[in-house]
């Protein structure tokens, strides 16, 4: 029923089309009892669900009850109204991209990256920068036309920025994996402040990545782009190339997307994402 222009109303679907079925689970800080069960039901009702069924009340502790609840929401979404602009840039393959860089920039692109703050989850940044790459996709180090310097884990902003400056890097790649109480955002901001302090903010491309990073947040924080789970090095390589071209006034600016930058350079495949999320 999806006629462009028209509304495309959708609702959650359990047993029958549009029945609005949703499953919930949560803990309430009260012991199991009929009263607790009633409380769980009212949580669901307050969320606007009808046909509320508290299918499980489990003793998660003497003062805690765990609930599994089913109910039906009556909301509708107009699927056509959901905005996810996809950038039109064609994604280059490995050789093609190296060739394009040679042709259009005439030099190697220098990128410096690290997992910053106290975070030592390097597998993410390694997947992007090191030879090996990720999911069969070569890492930046492997590209003849990239010079990739990976500083590894627990790198303080000062050091990362200084290094980037020293190498007069085209792009800085920042990874954060630990997100508890939004420490990833704090660290990301600290990094950009440092970049301003050392005066490389304007002339450098800043990329932010991690399992809980998305393009939108990254932009809000002041980065050029954000890369979430399932990112391939080639997505990043393409993005940097286009962004540099654009800074040279040689390419259409990619529209901002509300999402991980798989789709900032390629229309993305949900499946893939589903798999790696």
């Amino acid at each position: 029923m999806n006629v462009p222009g028209e509304k495309h109303l959708i609702r959650p679907y359990g047993d029958r089309k549009d029945d609005g079925v949703i499953q919930l689970s949560f803990v309430l800080p009260v012991p199991c009892s009929e009263k607790a069960k009633e409380a769980a039901a009212s949580v669901a009702k307050k969320l606007g669900l009808s046909h509320v069924l508290v299918s499980a009340m489990e003793k998660a502790g003497e003062d805690y009850s765990f609930f599994v609840v089913y109910g039906r929401t009556h909301m509708q979404l107009d699927y056509n109204a959901i905005e996810v602009p996809v950038v039109v840039h064609r994604k280059h393959g490995y050789d093609e991209l190296n060739e394009a860089i040679r042709r259009d920039l005439g030099r190697r692109i220098v990128v410096v990256g690290a997992c910053i703050g106290t975070d030592s989850h390097t597998t993410g940044i390694d997947a992007i920068m090191n030879m090996k790459g990720f999911a069969g996709d070569y890492g930046l180090e492997r590209y003849p036309m990239f010079r990739a310097i990976n500083l590894g884990s627990q790198v303080e902003p000062e050091r990362l920025v200084a290094q980037a400056k020293a190498e007069s890097a085209d792009a800085v790649l920042v990874s954060k994996v630990v997100t508890q109480r939004d420490v990833h955002k704090e660290d990301a901001r600290a990094l950009l402040d440092e970049a301003r302090r050392q005066g490389i903010f304007e002339k450098t491309v800043f990329l932010f990545g991690g399992p809980r990073v998305d393009h939108k947040t990254a932009l809000e924080l002041g980065f050029d782009a954000g890369f979430g789970p399932g990112t391939k090095p080639s997505d990043v390589a393409n993005f940097i190339y286009y962004r540099l071209l654009e800074r040279m006034g040689r390419a259409p600016p990619p529209q901002q997307t509300a999402h991980g930058t798989q789709d900032a350079t390629v229309p993305m495949t949900g499946e893939k994402l589903g798999d790696t999320l």
Binding site: D15, K17, Q23, V54, S55, A56, E58, V68, Y70
Partner: protein, 520 residues
């Protein structure tokens, strides 16, 4: 891998007992027919429509013949007479005519009589030929596509049960796309007690969707398309069970279904259908399945959802041996008999995984050529879907390790509702993981021949043997009368549908039975 720790003579002995128990019943079957057998004959002869108020023509005709007290001749005979008496008339009116005053019919000369039967036999042969053709199409498509996730993996069997055939199709397609090998459309609760098969596409059922020939067609058509797209054959199954076993068997064969739930005793025990009726009906329905190469699934799993799974385990084995005998008597090859059992032991107990392994291996080995149908935990499922899911995963492990043939995947919401789309997705994904992770586990491990598992097998089989001794001594019907199966007592005169059982007249005529019995 599966190991059997029961000694061979005991197994042979048990089979003999099951055979002799069944023999008595078979003698009865051979002397009787039922309204639903005769309706099936008429359907085979092309009587497919429904009357004004939705009553199938076959029912209207057979009811007349029964009322007129002439059914024992066989519906095929009377249809022949009727058409000859009023040529060109519409069959129902013709039947009504003859049924109104059968005594008034001009007697036939032996020659005419023979000729009439020959005509009907010719009709029957061409009907059978057409049916054969449709069955070949089904087999052809299956041959041309892959089957199952990998060699030796159980077929992943999931249920759709929205009550609305069109929602069922949506959900069946989604399930197929996520790896389901078999789609079962569960019937509406009421249907097994209906003494007719509803007509046309249906959109309202409770706990399931009505089994109708049109619904069969719609779903099979959708699955054919899906199978082709996926390059993997997706089977369809339904229930040849209740008061219309043979009719549904015929419709299923005609609409190219692959399997049917069909049990010699389920209707008697769980639906209080008269035992004589069920025994006669299961025979003809299985004759059709044998001909159509439809895999039947027996219903022993039901015993242990009612009685305690650990205590009643032996009734499962005994019943399977009985189902085996009846199926063979109906001309079915072992490869068509999907023996049912399940992973139902109370998870609150200890070593349940070992006890489930014991049963799963024993059933697997007792019927080496048959596609065992393995059912998931249901009775002890909880509203805690996370626990229920973990519980199902253990059943997946036993299924792949012991190489069950067909696994009905457990649903984490079993305790609440008919499976939702997401429930099926979750089950399919985890089953695929477990099959993959444990693919060769069965070839790797050997159980201790004097361990818990081995001892458990012997204990269960000994009890099954004792039960069969008793059944053979008292006879099937008496044993059922003593609640030996499924904790439920039924007597030969009780239950629904007895009025539809008729002793065959000496001249009883059923051209299809002639063909099917000849074939075997």
């Amino acid at each position: 891998m599966a190991q059997l720790f029961v000694d061979a003579d005991k197994i042979a002995r048990a089979r003999d007992l099951a055979r002799s128990a069944a023999r008595g019943v078979q003698a009865f079957i051979d002397r009787h027919t039922t309204v639903s057998i005769e309706r099936t004959v008429l359907r085979l002869l092309g009587i497919s429509g429904a009357g004004s108020r939705g009553a199938p023509l076959a029912n209207l005709m057979v009811d007349r013949l029964l009322a007129a007290g002439v059914l024992q001749q066989g519906a095929a005979y009377w249809l022949g007479r009727a058409l000859r008496a009023s040529p060109g008339k519409d069959p129902l009116q013709a039947i009504e005519r003859v049924a109104a005053h059968p005594e008034k019919l001009p007697p036939l000369s032996p020659a005419e009589h023979e000729q009439l039967k020959e005509e009907m036999r010719a009709e029957a042969r061409s009907a059978v030929r057409e049916l054969q053709g449709r069955i070949e199409q089904r087999k052809e498509l299956k041959r041309s596509l892959g089957v199952g996730s990998f060699e030796g993996a159980p077929w992943k069997y999931v249920i759709v049960a929205t009550g609305n055939i069109h929602d069922d199709v949506e959900q069946a397609k989604a399930a197929a796309q996520q790896g389901a090998d078999v789609i079962a459309v569960i019937r509406s609760t009421a249907q097994s007690l209906l003494d007719y098969v509803p007509h046309g596409a249906t959109t309202e059922g409770f706990g399931g969707t009505y089994a109708t020939q049109e619904n069969f067609r719609i779903m099979r058509e959708a699955l054919d398309a899906e199978s082709r797209r996926l390059g993997r054959y997706v089977h369809l199954t339904n229930y040849s069970s209740g008061l219309c076993m043979p009719e549904i068997a015929f419709m299923a064969a005609y609409e190219r279904l692959d399997m049917l739930l069909n049990d010699a005793m389920y209707g008697i025990l769980f639906r209080d259908i008269n035992m004589r009726r069920t025994f006669c009906d299961q025979y003809f329905s299985r004759r059709i399945c044998a001909f159509a190469e439809i895999i039947i699934n027996t219903g022993e799993d039901n015993y242990i959802t009612t009685a305690d799974a650990d205590e009643a385990a032996h009734t499962v084995i005994a019943s399977q041996l009985i189902n085996e005998t009846f199926a063979r008597l109906a001309g079915m090859g072992d490869e068509l008999i999907g023996f049912g059992h399940s992973f139902e032991i109370d998870p609150a107990r200890e070593d349940t995984l070992l006890r489930e392994f014991a049963m799963a291996m024993m059933v697997r080995k007792l019927f080496p050529k048959s596609p065992i149908k393995y059912m998931p935990p249901t009775k002890h499922k909880e509203g805690d879907i996370f626990f229920s899911h973990a519980y199902d995963v253990m059943a997946d492990l036993v299924a792949i390790t012991t190489r069950q043939g067909i696994q009905l995947l457990g649903m984490m919401t079993e305790a609440m509702h008919n499976p939702f789309l997401m429930d099926r997705y979750v089950a399919l994904k985890s089953a695929a993981y477990v099959y993959r992770a444990a693919r060769h586990l069965g070839d790797e491990i050997v159980f201790n021949p004097d361990g818990i598992v081995a001892r458990r097998q012997r204990e269960v089989f000994d009890k099954a043997l004792a039960l069969l001794e008793e059944v053979a001594k008292d006879g099937m019907m008496a044993a059922i009368g003593k609640a030996r199966f499924g904790d439920t007592a039924r007597n030969p005169e009780g239950g629904k549908g007895l009025e539809g059982v008729v002793e065959r007249a000496p001249g009883y005529f059923n051209p299809f039975l002639e063909i099917l019995e000849a074939k075997a």
